[in-house]
Point group: C2
Chain length 381, copies 2
């Protein structure tokens, strides 16, 4: 049965890949369109990357052999101390620097957890909508991403702020998730970007034996350093280090050294507060534009993060919608990418407010509305 499920899953992946390749090709084309308003991608704003501070940090570390040589697979000690201290301050008093593994972004942390937790052919709970690259990492390990908690061998959930919804989904299902008894990969990629400035107690408190805690600075500071982290349950630490070593030996020394220096000299919290305020303003602008121009779209106000998840009642090809959107001068992320079964209907999509300038968001929404009309006409024809 496991074998059969794996094969079915394999075919589903093959179909998905074909469509994903089409979506990717369209997104690559988008990058070339002059005047395009980018509402796709989940990127932090270029102008909010702390470039001067990172330049200072690089200047300070770039001639030290530590920054240019090989390091241990668990990563930079000062960095692991900083991560542990922050978890500690939020109530995870058992976490020490020794429990932390520095990874190549949150994505690698998810992939390492997936390698250990996924039983090929068995379902993995990811929710009704979820982060596409997590769905992909779980599928590639042979898991069957699912919106149902029943019989799942593991769970994946985003804490504080979910992607694509921008809502705190985990906060609402915390008890149900913990009650299931299964291991949970808790991804905090957007957790520090809650617009209400609230910081929850990490889910691992009291569930240290089955929560795989994932974090990163890619959304708050800068993705280009490729630094994230994983706090696996203690019993899995050696195994995770072995997998990390076999995957890529270690996270980049230069990125880690620069980040550790940055965190030591600059006020990370002040920076996060500042960007959080700016993303909140952009979210409001996008939401107001949706309310004004798109009364037929269903969406919930984002509580943080970079994006809004839009649902409609229409049956329509969401990849065709993306093509129409590009012709209208706007990009978006087709909804099927976020659904565990890859369903394209009912028509849904993600709109990111993080990357485009605030004063372009209303026009972006107008173009999306026009693109949806175009796509509907095409679909009906």
């Amino acid at each position: 049965m496991g074998h059969y499920a794996t094969r079915v899953n394999g075919m589903a992946i093959a179909v998905c890949r074909f469509v994903h390749t089409r979506i990717e090709r369209l997104h690559r084309r988008a990058a070339e369109i002059p005047g395009l308003i980018p509402l796709a991608g989940g990127l932090p704003a270029d102008e909010l990357l702390p470039r001067n501070e990172i330049a200072d940090a690089l200047r300070a570390v770039q001639s030290s052999p530590t920054a240019l040589q090989y390091g241990w697979p668990e990563g930079s000690e000062p960095l692991r101390h900083w991560i542990a201290k922050r978890l500690h301050a939020r109530g995870a008093s058992s976490v020490t620097a020794d429990d932390v593994v520095v990874t190549a972004g949150a994505q690698q942390a998810i992939a390492l957890a997936a390698a250990e937790l996924v039983d090929p052919g068995r379902s993995v709970y990811v929710g009704v909508t979820s982060y596409p690259a997590a769905i992909s990492a779980l599928s590639l390990r042979g898991g069957v991403p699912s919106a149902s908690r029943a019989a799942a061998c593991a769970h994946y959930a985003m804490a504080g702020v979910s992607n694509p919804s921008g809502r705190d989904l985990l906060g609402r299902e915390r008890d149900a998730l913990l009650a299931s008894g299964a291991p949970i990969v808790v991804d905090e990629a957007y957790a520090e970007l809650r617009f209400d400035d609230r910081s929850e107690r990490p889910l691992l408190v009291g569930a240290e034996d089955r929560v795989w805690h994932v974090g990163t600075v890619s959304k708050t500071l800068c993705p280009g350093l490729r630094v994230g982290w994983l706090v696996p349950p203690a019993g899995f630490r050696e195994r995770v280090l072995e997998r990390k070593h076999a995957a890529d030996l270690q996270a980049g020394s230069l990125g880690q050294a620069a980040l550790a220096h940055f965190l030591d000299r600059f006020d990370y919290d002040a920076h996060v507060r500042r960007v959080r305020g700016i993303y909140r303003q952009r979210a409001e602008t996008l939401v107001q534009a949706l309310e004004r121009h798109a009364p037929g779209f269903r969406f919930e106000h984002p509580e943080g993060g970079f994006s809004v998840w839009v649902e409609t009642d229409q049956r329509c090809d969401d990849v065709a919608l993306l093509a129409c959107a590009l012709r209208r001068g706007v990009s978006l992320d087709p909804g099927r990418l976020f659904r565990p079964d890859g369903a394209r209907n009912p028509l849904s999509f993600r709109l990111c407010f993080s990357y485009a300038p605030r004063d372009a968001l209303e026009e972006g929404v107008r173009r999306v509305v026009a693109a949806v009309r175009d796509a509907e006409r095409k679909y009906a024809a």
Copy 2:
């Protein structure tokens, strides 16, 4: 049968991990010993890292959003062009930038190939001795690393210079490898560090459909940027990109941007010629010291790279030898790490001449000889 082999392999891995943890603990201790002569690790010399040039490159790219943002999973286009051009110049005229995937070091390239090529439970040819982290990547995918080519589902071999032997093993078995018909992961990590300056035609020429070409600048330039590359057979490219994306989204933007800038402004070949000459001198010094002080050791003169593989007739615990070596003020790599079956006998070890200063190498060998005597006495007792 496959399942049984996987379980046996699983147990073998568990035993290995236990011993590897002990070895790693000893190596970590080594880093703290004052006056220790480091003959372990396979690191490039700190003083040969082109620090000023990398600092210049970082200064040039660090404030560009490209260097700090997300990028595409295949990596930097200028970098892929440089890689393709160099392969082209060596006779691989079919390779274009589109065929190249930038990875987090050569290690990730090996891991991506392993994910695609290993049939769980089946043997993978790695040779009599091989690179430990490749053995580990293949084992973690369920493969059974083996010194025999018979029935292997894939081969792993280092081109130009093998690790740990420092010899061109692949050059000698080129025809046999190609005749086998199985896919081959060809790791060129040390290929540019041949002491005779020779550059072979890449093995992928004429076997593009089954050679997975792996390269890196970690040994020639600097490991801290974490940049390597993979040229998979064309039919696997989409699949590899999907795996790369699921593994860590992309190689670090900053490291890639800095490297691309470096390669555009500085003379990479002149740098490689210079470090090659210095490593050749260190190799000669080590070999002379071995001939002078260790007549009982068997080894072959390295043809390039960072290390010499030493064999003895003694039966003795090579991990105990490492402990004795640390007490004598020298480090080395126990031989079992390099054997596909993890055998500790006959006593063997790797000595690296790359990292310690040249004038410390003779004293290093004296200490190794003393440590072997200590370990023998201990073993006999």
